[in-house]
């Protein structure tokens, strides 16, 4: 029994120009203690998927048109705002992409963590502060007691992201959603942050949904990976199997784009064309205009999900 199972999630944005189907029928399962990686280009619906689960997208213009997301048997999408508050933080917490702006500039980081702890647990102010210091130590921040009294502007980007992780983990959530947690950081700090998330996960048994567009990050940290394109799932499977044998032409293309340190002339192959405008989605398979292996059928009808072991591919090639 999966901890979180999302079925056919659909989130649309109703704009003046038309409706953008940002997430259009995404399903996945997340097992306890596992990491699910979600990859895709910008605008493929990665972030909207995550925000939809916590209902943190602005509604309107967004609307969760359909689908279910069962967490421990309860459908998150049908909960009231009040019931959702019981889920947020306690069951599911989120780390955001820009650590620079994700902390309130007017309070010390210790205050911010302690406040969240006090919001969830019956502890005194002093106890909460001690727990905040412990959380800062747990995310490997040097001199945690001193740093707890620092304001966000006194910390570097990597430190702020650690603080965000401490904040998110302070209520021991069952699921941690990390929306491109390392994108805004430089490479060495990225590695530290990812290692930290991985360590915390194995220590606490938290499941992680990791959103990124970096394949390396996914291979290093995720157990399962889901590839999105224009709000639809393209392929899903166990990380190594999927990256060793990508079946969908889009996944193959994505993997071909990665630079390999194998010689100067070996420039990566680039997927032809651009992501279509989200309002004018192509008919049939959304990838067909750029697909090197397209068939006539691809432009007409949406491909079905093809299962091969644990790997699922949404493509006509394998029917």
């Amino acid at each position: 029994m999966a901890l979180l199972s999302v079925r056919n999630l659909r989130t649309y944005f109703h704009l003046h120009m038309g409706t953008v189907k940002a997430v259009d029928g995404i399903s996945f399962d997340l097992e306890a203690g596992k990491t699910l990686g979600i990859v895709g280009e910008s605008g493929s619906g990665k972030t909207v998927t995550c925000l939809s689960l916590l209902k943190l997208i602005p509604m309107p213009p967004a609307e969760i048109v359909g689908g279910q997301a069962y967490l421990e048997g309860r459908d998150l999408l049908s909960l009231s705002e009040k019931e959702l508050r019981g889920i947020r933080g306690r069951k599911m917490a989120m780390i955001f992409q820009e650590p620079m702006t994700a902390l309130n500039p007017l309070y010390t980081v210790g205050e911010q963590i302690a406040e969240t702890i006090r919001h969830h647990q019956a502890v005194t102010r002093a106890e909460a502060f001690e727990m905040a210091v412990e959380m800062l130590a747990a995310v490997s921040i040097p001199l945690p007691r001193l740093r707890a009294k620092s304001y966000p502007h006194q910390l570097s980007g990597g430190m702020k992201q650690r603080v965000m992780i401490a904040l998110a983990m302070s209520c021991r959530p069952k699921i941690l959603i990390a929306d491109e947690p390392s994108t805004a950081l430089d490479v060495t700090i990225q590695a530290q942050i990812l290692r930290l998330i991985h360590e915390l996960k194995s220590r606490t048994g938290t499941s992680v949904i990791l959103v990124t567009h970096n394949m390396g990050v996914i291979t290093a940290t995720a157990d399962e990976v889901m590839v999105l394109y224009l709000g639809k799932m393209v392929e899903k499977g166990e990380v190594y199997a999927l990256f060793n044998q990508p079946r969908h032409p889009y996944t193959q293309g994505l993997l071909d784009c990665i630079l390999k340190p194998s010689g100067r002339r070996n420039l990566p192959k680039i997927l032809p064309g651009f992501i279509p405008h989200p309002i004018n989605r192509p008919s049939g398979c959304p990838f067909h205009p750029r697909c090197p292996k397209r068939k006539t059928l691809c432009a007409v009808e949406e491909p079905p999900v093809v299962r091969d072991g644990r790997q699922e591919t949404v493509c006509w090639l394998y029917v």
Binding site: M94, F96, M135, A138, S140, P142, L146, K149, M164
Partner: protein, 314 residues
């Protein structure tokens, strides 16, 4: 008792738990007065406010006491700031006038903040309310401020209470607008979203995350408003439709003195200078208050290294 979070620290590491110096926060007042200009501004305002409060004891003459033989005396030993065309002591009238001028302005700014900021927060956070509240403010803001005030005064008749009401009605939509603008920006900020993701409720979002961050532009605007209100009150008095003529105010001293500007300069220069200094001081104080609200300003001067010596490099 709910279950306490167990620290999830790795057993192997205990990081720098020793040798952490106590970090003491600079007090707000020290930050405020670190800037000499702010100190001067506050000093002048405090002096004026004290003088206004202590008017009956410190004013050399009653404000309406007329010494007809000493009409239009220049500043000197008997009347430090001279006398006006009825032989009234200008210094005394200025001291009493500070009561009206500062009192009216403080009341207007206080009320405008008290009503305007909540309106702006509601308007910025709830889209539905926004439509209603903003159309109402549009209605009020269609008139230029002084014209609006004039129209309301003409409707209400003169009187100190009416001056306050009129200037309040003119100020409120402007305060609400600024609060709304800040709220609109802040409600989209990542830290607000992050707080929501950690189950913060509406009250917490508004009062702990949005309002404090919106405060610094609001404080700046409110000090400007205070200054503007001093001038508007003076303007209304000058036009003769503000406070009644038997209530001394800086504006009235100025307006009565304008007829004698050529041969009795002190009648206009002194109230003018007082208004100018009060406005300037308020602006300086406003800057200072804004800095106190900003943690980036703390511990900035002459205390670079608070970390232990071995950590100072790198």
């Amino acid at each position: 008792m709910k279950d306490r979070a167990v620290p999830i620290r790795s057993s192997s590491r205990s990081i720098g738990e020793t040798a952490e110096p106590k970090k003491r926060r600079e007090s707000g007042l020290r930050v405020l007065f670190r800037n000499p200009l702010v100190f001067m501004g506050s000093f002048f305002l405090a002096l004026t406010a004290l003088a206004a409060l202590a008017a009956p004891w410190i004013a050399p003459f009653p404000p309406h006491f007329m010494d007809i033989n000493a009409r239009l005396t220049p500043p000197g030993a008997g009347h430090w700031l001279g006398t006006d065309h009825l032989g009234r002591d200008v210094l005394s009238r200025m001291i009493y006038g500070a009561r009206t001028t500062l009192g009216v302005s403080a009341a207007v700014v206080g009320l405008a903040a008290w009503v305007g900021i909540p309106l702006g927060l509601i308007s910025g956070y709830f889209r539905r309310a926004d439509e209603v509240i903003m159309r109402l403010t549009d209605l009020f803001m269609a008139f230029p401020p002084l014209i609006g005030g004039l129209a309301i005064m003409a409707f209400l008749g003169s009187g100190v209470g009416n001056v306050i009401l009129a200037l309040f009605l003119v100020a409120v939509p402007r305060v609400a607008r600024i609060a709304r603008g800040e709220t609109l920006v802040l409600r989209e900020a990542t830290f607000v979203k992050a707080a929501l993701a950690m189950r913060a409720g509406l009250g917490r979002i508004i009062f702990r995350h949005i309002l404090p961050n919106a405060l610094s532009p609001l404080i700046v605007y409110l000090t400007l408003l205070f200054a503007g209100t001093i001038m508007a009150e003076a303007g209304l008095s000058f036009l003769g439709i503000g406070a009644p003529a038997d209530v001394p105010s800086w504006g009235i001293v100025l307006s009565e003195g304008r007829l004698y500007m050529r041969n009795a300069w002190w009648l206009t220069v002194i109230p003018g200078a007082a208004i100018f200094l009060a406005v300037l001081s308020l602006n300086l104080l406003g800057d200072g208050i804004r800095d106190v609200g900003d943690p980036r300003q703390y511990g900035r001067a002459k205390r670079p290294g608070r970390l232990p010596a071995r950590n100072r490099k790198g």
